[in-house]
Point group: C2
Chain length 682, copies 2
Amino acid sequence: MRSLGGLSQSFVCRFTRKTFNSRPSSKSPYFRIPALWISKTNIQTRGNARSAPYPNRTHTCGELTPAHAGTHVTLTGWLLPERKVSKFMSFFPIKDSSGITQLVIRKGDTDDHLAALSDIPVESTIAIEGQVRVRPEQSRRDEGTGQIEVQVDKFTLLNPAQCMPFIPSDNQTLVNEDLRARFRYLDLRRTALSDNIRKRSRVARIIRDTLHDDGFLEVETPLLLKSTPEGAREFLVPTRVGRSTARQDGKDIPLFYALPQSPQQPKQLLICSGAVDKYFQIAKCFRDEDGRKDRQPEFTQIDLEMAFVSWGADKSYSRSDTWRVGGHEVRAVIERLVGRIWQQVEGITLPSSFRVITYNEAMTRYGSDKPDTRFALEVIQDITPSLPSRTRSSLENLGEIIEAIILRSSENNQFLRASDECNSQEESDVTQSVITDSNMLNWLCDNRSISLKLSHDEHVLLNKTLGVSSGDTLWLSRRRKVPEGGSTALGRLRIRISELAHARGDYVPPTAPHFLWVTEFPLFTRADPDKEFLAQGRWSSTHHPFTAPMWQDIEAMYAGRTDQVRGQHYDLVLNGVEIGGGSVRVHDACMQEYIFSQVLQLSDSEKASFNHLLHALKCGAPPHGGIALGFDRLMAILCKTPTIRDVIAFPKTGAGTDLLFKSPAAVNKDALYQYGIQPTHG
Amino acid sequence: MRSLGGLSQSFVCRFTRKTFNSRPSSKSPYFRIPALWISKTNIQTRGNARSAPYPNRTHTCGELTPAHAGTHVTLTGWLLPERKVSKFMSFFPIKDSSGITQLVIRKGDTDDHLAALSDIPVESTIAIEGQVRVRPEQSRRDEGTGQIEVQVDKFTLLNPAQCMPFIPSDNQTLVNEDLRARFRYLDLRRTALSDNIRKRSRVARIIRDTLHDDGFLEVETPLLLKSTPEGAREFLVPTRVGRSTARQDGKDIPLFYALPQSPQQPKQLLICSGAVDKYFQIAKCFRDEDGRKDRQPEFTQIDLEMAFVSWGADKSYSRSDTWRVGGHEVRAVIERLVGRIWQQVEGITLPSSFRVITYNEAMTRYGSDKPDTRFALEVIQDITPSLPSRTRSSLENLGEIIEAIILRSSENNQFLRASDECNSQEESDVTQSVITDSNMLNWLCDNRSISLKLSHDEHVLLNKTLGVSSGDTLWLSRRRKVPEGGSTALGRLRIRISELAHARGDYVPPTAPHFLWVTEFPLFTRADPDKEFLAQGRWSSTHHPFTAPMWQDIEAMYAGRTDQVRGQHYDLVLNGVEIGGGSVRVHDACMQEYIFSQVLQLSDSEKASFNHLLHALKCGAPPHGGIALGFDRLMAILCKTPTIRDVIAFPKTGAGTDLLFKSPAAVNKDALYQYGIQPTHG
């Protein structure tokens, strides 16, 4: 530290009044502070903060150890509440983003201006000078700077905390969420949140290091992109650019950019260019949709794309591995990346490759395309094969199956009590049968939503085959055999029971993360209500129209058997949460054109926004594939918080508003006028 | 590489027709290709591209060396034009983003399907299998893979280039800029551009590594930020969020986010929170302004901010160092960062600290607040002190000075001829005097724009003091003594002469970069026409209203001597280009309030958008400061290109339009209606 010599002495504030409290009064949530602080310095300041030189810090509040004993140090940080030991001695913790150091003030020993430290409101920033000492043995702590303390000689008030609506260092009373959102800069001062911010930066670094080391280039793609006629869910950005040349019927028409929902098209074009063999970006994406549970209008993706992805799993995978789509290079990168994150951040060694299951298996066994495989709740059984052949074939003719979750009373099942509590009303397509001695032979027949008839013998045989006995609970569902969409009724029930069991404390999820790849999704769907507003009765792409079919199904696609085409798509699922998805893309312009025109039946205007991609495919585009992981969601899991708002420095509320910056907001008409727009209700 | 066994053979395309050209025909800029390729595979594809498995690549096109001789390899990449050696032998270069490998085709030797390679259009993607050989001695090159070649056994066409509007590998004929912008994905295939993209990724990595190693955290700040009533230059983003609750006179009013021009407020709030001691972000910023020379509506900043910045230079700086503002920690980080970039990317060792000059010195000696100190063109002289005392005091009374650039004929000056060519008409406030025997004693008196009267003796004395003689050229300017704005008339002339001399070839700029800090700018200005539309006659902040005054000038500020207040601002200048700027911020809420209300005279509504910042300052905000470097500009300098468009993957034109994605574009009225807006001319 460079000494400021004689000057520094005069920079030390001295206080002669003690008229303010260090805690909010009961009447007002705001601290009061005298308007003028009296200081020895001859620098005129009207504010209370020090705007003139002060001693440079020599150390942070988190780094001092017994090795520093005897050293004279200068620390800067936020003052935490005093702990009075005696009339003459107090402890003050001082905190910065690196940690907390205990300050010791002996009020008799030295210049008694140190007593004034008691009058400084908590959460003010100060600089202190003093000497590091090893703590008396009984006061030593192993954590952080717990071995030492600093005996203070002088202090300088840098900025008093005058208007604290709440005290972030007060862990006992967490004030309501709206107040914390409004004063996010104070909420962030809480260690719980600042730890998340630090971890996020660290994980971003691991991601970049891993991908750079793997030969990826990070490339920024445009955020001011193209607005498309049918572009619901994209934010529009009015601009003055080019307005003078865009005229219709002799009138200026307003022009717009749009914010991308993902860098999908730019990254594919980049790979088509050949400039970049492996691309990545930690990319901001935007989605203008009505507030949904824990979504943000802007969010962050770990986005990557690779040229020349190929088929055939790597030798390193076991023979039983069921990755039958292309893009195993993408899989390998992600498994390495995720493995590195869990290793370095959590100290957990993940398996070198993750389990792969097909969409069909996921839907059949777990009733979900993002199954939570952590818990032992019985997977779903198709009981159709156990039914009498007459019943079976009538179901087959209808293309239907009967499936069940069986909770056996003989096993001390941690989900049984939750199951009992579960209200089957919530899920209309499932019914609960608790097997008793009296309904042993008609629990299926009497089930009106299943509506099957079984003879006495058939029921006896069924009970035997399924191994059910009195006291067991069966959840039953009749559904179409070919799974559709993201979950089945029993799949949703399975999750509800597990959540209930978790809430009851019967079930505690294991700490080890369960990663899973889900592949072989149907390439096209008619079962996604989110897509219906654009599809309007036509087929939609399950993921996006650039996903390639499995090569085995190309013939089916060209033959019009649209429902039979599986895509080369892969979702990464962690603990039942989809944290990423990707695919091998179509690189054949003719095939892409066929998908647009013949399968999705896009109109010419709908197709127009893909023209540049179609042309790029015609210019020697390489086979390519990629993936995007949701960075916010990944961080929420790593930070063990249920909401992504806890891992974003300045998030918006669930409703999309920003209580800190007060956005969105109205703008005046003149500002709109220059873009050629005006309010509808003027 | 995992062998595909018997399969791979059948995946090799064989061609039986040779009806297409490998060059565009003169009639059409597009290649023609037969609609159906005949292949041995039994997979039905309607396109010409291979959508089924193909051999995995074993190496990239840039990595083979003589150490691989004899190895069987599979390469994938873009086919470049054939060079026929004989009837039976051809060379084909194959290129990917890592480099180029020479393929050798012996048409007689092997299966004659290899001859079909000649029929594949250049720029198609192929996979080849073959054996690495060391080239004959006379053909070896030291660069890249110049020591080896690959004798091809088989090839697979992955995707034919069918529609090339131009051939990017053709370095001879660079097609016009509009065409290249429209087909940016092909322009990026040019090595010149892809090298820039690669370098940009590399530099971003160096930046992040350096800052992480220095203890910085990377934090993402919101892009959907607050629209301000007076927010010209910010892009608005209409949103449906909260519309139902925002009503005025019983009507829905449209609501908007705004895209940030920089993360200034979020980053200050982040530092005020204490969560982060050192923040950085490679941040996207947005500016909605009429197209200016080489600006982009979205651009990238290396943005950083540090808590507890202090005064007093580090010991490591020399005593003559004139950094008299705070924030030397920021300076040290940037010097280390820039030094690391130049060291690793250019192999140039920069000085450990950069020269510091004050705004006043920069304006006086170079006539610019971002002086180009590379060239030896005489700096500007204030000749007022050489004038007779009578003249001097009359100038002083007016607050004016006479300054000159003197080009001496006695020195073999590389700028003299450029100066002769320079037309003084372009700069109305400068006049040129070429000294001859006949005007030796009246060159100043006769200068009408200077309009001074000197006696014969005074003129003789002046000539002697200045050392001018016949044949010298003087450029003269009379200006107000206190410099204002970014440049003086002579400063602009100095640059024009240097550019002319450069264009003439008289002057070649040195390769070593000239870095410079410019400090002590006036904190407030009335001389910035760009700010006048908001200031409307009031004072403006020279940089932004959060910049702190130098502590020596605080008293002057509170006393209303606004023009005398210097700010704690620092600009980083490289070769006459401002590549960054930053400052120590106001952390005293009272001072910030005084600047808003008393100096800038903001209205209440103008101040409202700063309320959260003012409150954050009151909650124990630490002293802090930061900087932002223009990443695009920095990369353009590193890539030795005059335009930032060459270092952005998908840039917009100078006019802000995107010829590739065809944006901005019109949107239909229904899309606008949901935001509560409509076209003005509907």
